[in-house]
């Protein structure tokens, strides 16, 4: 259940990251000529001040200025891998809950590897985010660290359960 819950959240987080990297481009920023378009009626509709509207553009500028040239494409690959791994972990956890016997043991073994893969993915994302400027690092590092420990806990928990099941099958109670 926990694996499904965190899988869903990780899927949503990475889908948004993929979208973010697709939208925040230098071309789109250049088209604006670094000037925020803040019409009074739009400000009222959104319920924001003129300064907030101007800062929205600054936020895009921060994302573009703080990231190295390779960051966008690497993030796209990493977040797409994150989406795939999250969906796989949800599918395996559902299969694990739905079935019993050898099928569920097999799902559990694969799930341990997928969760381990997510720990590695979090680490790579963390290292990639370390290469950006301080403004982007402030946005990325803490959530990535949190995800790293969540996936690590899940992977170790799943590994322990898998090991206990294997031990019980190898040495059934009352046999010796």
């Amino acid at each position: 259940m926990l694996s499904i819950l965190f899988g869903v959240l990780f899927f949503a987080s990475n889908s948004n990251e993929l979208l973010k990297q697709g939208v925040l481009t230098t071309d789109a920023f250049a088209a604006l000529q670094a000037e925020a378009d803040c019409r009074a009626d739009e400000l009222e509709e959104e319920g924001i001040s003129l300064r907030e509207c101007e800062l929205m553009l600054v936020q895009v500028e921060i994302a573009l200025e703080s990231s190295p040239d390779w960051f966008r494409s690497v993030q796209q690959i990493l977040s797409a891998s994150g989406i795939a791994a999250a969906l796989l972990s949800i599918g395996l956890a559902l299969n694990l809950s739905a079935n019993s016997g050898s099928s569920s043991r097999f799902s559990l073994r694969i799930l341990v590897w997928v969760l381990g893969g997510l720990v590695v993915l979090d680490s790579v994302m963390f290292i990639a985010a370390l290469q950006t400027g301080p403004l982007l690092r402030a946005q990325y590092l803490w959530p990535l660290l949190l995800w790293f420990f969540i996936h690590l806990s899940l992977a170790l928990g799943a590994r322990t359960i898998s090991k206990n099941i294997n031990d019980k099958l190898s040495y059934p109670a009352g046999k010796f």
């Binding site: 819950l5 869903v8 949503a12 979208l19 939208v23 604006l32 378009d37 509709e45 936020q59 809950s97």
Partner: protein
Amino acid sequence: MIENTNSELASEPLALSRAIRFCHWLSVLAVFYLLISSWWMLSLPLPSENSTFRVLPFQLHKNVGITLFLLLLAMLGSFILRWIKENARTDPLQQLTAKIGHGSMYLVLLFCCLTGYLSSSFSGWGTELWWLLNLPQWAQESDELNAFFSDLHLWSCWLLILLIAVHIGAALHHSFNSDGVTDSMLRSSNKD
């Protein structure tokens, strides 16, 4: 013998069909994507002739939202049938809380999707469903109605988050208690 059968029946979860379970998990993914992406996309620069940052996120948001609405309608019939069957199986308090919880979640989800669509309809921006089908513009642009439905959309989504938290909390509670309640969303029915 009869007692045994009854107790087995009572503890057996009301398993749902594979299609309904698939729709449920697909809608879960859609809801969390919509929530998380909406917080981010509203921080993007306001739209104008030159500012295109919001175009893709908003189109995607509307497409996922409309698809979610259709998914929910498809699932609604199955859940009503399930509630009727549940009357004979679970204790009255659990029945009542489950009905209130699920019923309000469905209502708020549908309301959230509907107000989002209405807000968009009065905004003057067109909707192209998955970039394949241009949905007809049936409403005239109206700032007042757009703002009204936008507010309803926003507040119903905050309420939805609260209901989701309760729903997940209840699911985790039943899962940790291993009482078989969450199994209906995880296990296959005999029909599968």
